[in-house]
């Protein structure tokens, strides 16, 4: 009987490992993959249905800030174009706002500073699990989009960045609910200073209700589009296209 029990436990352990490996085989099936990936839509649908879409993420006081805001992903785009902009202290940098808008814009840092500014001390949540608190400042994305005049067909806002991540242009996208959220800003300042290069100089997106990889750094272009098809590989961002991250990064 004891041997039987031992065999049962040993069998359980090997069986468990086989089941774990079995999960990898299951997910190779397109139908299973589709079902599993529907989790993202369910979370988005539930969150949007159950919560106030305008609710603000918690903001913190100055003394609650992290001692250091660590960079992640690209620390320096390093391209000739970006290096030239940086060497000129970004006076020649322009943020192009285009796509499905009535009035395409080309904004300098000074132009961004002319919009009403929003400063917020928020927590940045990396998809990996770490988080850091810092103060960000810049115009609300909604104000910039209003200035450009979104057309009715516009459904998504696509952010094109100056950096190449592993040789591929980094980009991200959000829908209009997040684009017009009061805490979604085009931040040019971090902790009361101009953004350092490692944190996305001269301007990055802060879309506070989503995970870190959505907060595109080194912004160059903002485009309003009707669909994400045909942009990159069509899934709405560098990580979504290449590593199957969720497009909706609200959890």
């Amino acid at each position: 009987m004891i041997v039987g029990r031992r065999r049962l436990i040993a069998g359980g352990v090997t069986g468990g490992a086989a089941l774990l490996a079995g999960c990898d085989r299951v997910i190779e099936q397109p139908a299973a993959r589709r079902i599993l990936f529907m989790g993202e839509d369910m979370h988005r649908g539930l969150q949007r249905a159950l919560t106030n879409r305008d609710a603000l993420v918690p903001e913190f006081s100055a003394d609650q800030r992290s001692p250091f805001f660590r960079p992640n992903g690209t620390r320096n785009p390093g391209t000739a174009e970006y290096t030239a902009l940086r060497d000129g202290q970004f006076v020649d940098w322009r943020l192009a706002v285009g796509g499905l808008v009535a009035k395409p814009l080309s904004l300098s840092l000074t132009d961004l500073g002319r919009f009403p500014q929003r400063a917020q001390t928020t927590r940045h949540d990396c998809v990996e699990g770490w988080s850091a608190i810092a103060k960000w400042q810049g115009p609300q994305l909604g104000d910039v989009l209003k200035a450009a005049g979104l057309r009715d067909q516009a459904r998504y806002i696509v952010f094109t960045c100056a950096d190449l991540y592993r040789g591929t242009p980094y980009y991200e996208s959000i829908d209009l609910i997040d684009a017009f959220h009061p805490q979604t800003i085009l931040a040019w300042a971090l902790n009361d200073r101009f953004l350092p290069v490692m944190n996305g100089a001269p301007c990055r997106l802060r879309v506070e209700r989503q995970l870190g990889y959505k907060h595109a750094k080194y912004l160059m272009q903002i485009n309003a589009v009707a669909s994400l098809d045909g942009i990159g590989k069509g899934k709405g961002g560098y990580w979504e296209d290449n590593v199957e991250y969720d497009w909706y990064a609200g959890i």
Binding site: I27, G39, M42, H43, Q47, D125, S131, E208, D246, G250
Partner: protein, 232 residues
Amino acid sequence: MNSVYRHRFSTRLWHAVNAVAMFILIGSGLGISNAHPRLYWGRFGANSDPAWWVLPRFPAWLTIPANYNLALSRRWHLFFALVLAFGLLGYMIASLINRHFARDLRVRGSELTPRHLLADARAHLEFRFHDPERPLAYNIFQKLSYVAVIFVMLPLVIATGIALSPAMNAAWPWLLDVFGGRQSARSIHFLCMIGLTAFIVIHLTLVILAGPLNEVRSVITGWWRVPEKPRA
């Protein structure tokens, strides 16, 4: 041989769903842990900050998927998090309606007296897990562990999981305050996983000790064969 109907359909269904969900949630959760295996207390915590626990890197054979892939681990984890959460909700509603909670899990004051607890501990050590007079009744340790899992650990692991969502932080900021910040919630989430894993190990061990065929049959069909006399 005398058989009794021990587990209702809702209980059996929930048990089966949970067996799958917990297995996948733990495996994929260990994969997620590998993305940043440091645990902190408070509201923030990144690589150079002091961690109260630096976790080991979990080997590929323990994680889902069986290689490092944070995106896929998250896909598994977040899908089955919904299965776990709505499964618990459905089971709770069913168990209130069919009186499973009231009948089987209610802890009576008399069961918590030192004398009763000691007697039950002695019975466990002698591998007597059932009262032959009342074959349907759970013993007090069973009740306490099931109550801890159903009403404390599972709700806590779900709530701390929700607290890790930046969008839910906006909607329910009080949840973060309850746990003392996102990194505290993340630590508690991991500790809950350890508690639930310990429960599963003890639970399965006791199933084997109590007679695996009879116990497994009862959780599949509902019918449990009452032992003729106390097991020695």
